[in-house]
Symmetry: C2
Subunit: 214 residues, 2 copies
Amino acid sequence: MPQLLRVQNFTVSSDGYGTGIGQTLERPFGHADPGKLHAWAFETASWPGRTDGEGSRGLDDYLVRDFPHNIGAEIMGRNKFGPQRGPWEDHEWQGWWGEEPPFHTPVFVLTHHPRPSFTLSDTTFHFVDGDPAKVLDRAREAADGRDVRLGGGVSVVRDFLDAGLVDTMHVAVAPLELGGGERLWESSDELLDRFHRDIVPSPSGVTHHLFWRK
Amino acid sequence: MPQLLRVQNFTVSSDGYGTGIGQTLERPFGHADPGKLHAWAFETASWPGRTDGEGSRGLDDYLVRDFPHNIGAEIMGRNKFGPQRGPWEDHEWQGWWGEEPPFHTPVFVLTHHPRPSFTLSDTTFHFVDGDPAKVLDRAREAADGRDVRLGGGVSVVRDFLDAGLVDTMHVAVAPLELGGGERLWESSDELLDRFHRDIVPSPSGVTHHLFWRK
């Protein structure tokens, strides 16, 4: 079995932005409201934060519940870990993901600034420098035969796309405009030279764009 | 976590038939061509019979690869096991599923005629009599906290629907007419009193009907 590099449940606005303007500790998505952007996922029965036994079990739920399957490691950009820039100053603060991060695998955080690895519950964060291919090699080794998730943000997804390393990608296009921020694409047609694509409108209002390598 | 009873990847013709007329040993689907009916699944990268590393990884693949996830037992009708009717005469013949059945869990085959359990690879077939609720209790116990798959055929799915025991159901409607055989429905609207429904057309030509209990 090949070890795929997969982007999963990555949500952008109808104008292609994955994050708004002005990321801070309090606002990881800048001016974008993550509750609105990701509402499609929060409404599903399989959303990890859901404890009420309710939620939809239709199309969106299939996509949400696929998240952990056959994933052995994640690669994420520094901005998905936290809002700091430059050398790490506060080692006490251990990222946006709480005491029980939803990854349950090794996570490789891209940064030019070294920092010791640490473990929260069953997720270990490693801080790595290097080009995409080299980081992917390390993540594949840690994934022990399983696939690697490319977690984002936008600039990380773009870097790995540009390096030709992404095997499959699921982008959910939410029915709202952001007008600014970090942009994944102007149109998903930009990827059709390299990927097959299914476009699947969900009854919830988002449109799922599913890509796999040609 | 509740233990759901789930119908997965159950394919019917556009006029609602899951099996054609005249099931025999050589033709498990009667006059229907299973290759045409299930073509949507065979084309995916995750179809278990695929060994060429090819296949689509879009919408249809999500549905196919969800098949084993969190499933701990299957319930199937006798006609999904084999073409015999009445008391078992040939105990040597061990069903349509070969030496490596694709279930990998206990399977409960509904029959009025007793027969000893047997194991092929990591699938054990049990032969059980009783009403749907009683058989589901047994399968739930065997599933050890995981969900139970209701594998069909048509009459078994209908019996469990009539008994109000089905929690989620995925039916793929293929773009071909059969004109006769075992019919699941005249229209999937028949289930809307009891289920939510997403209707999702796939670029491959099938339309996925996804139900979850109200």
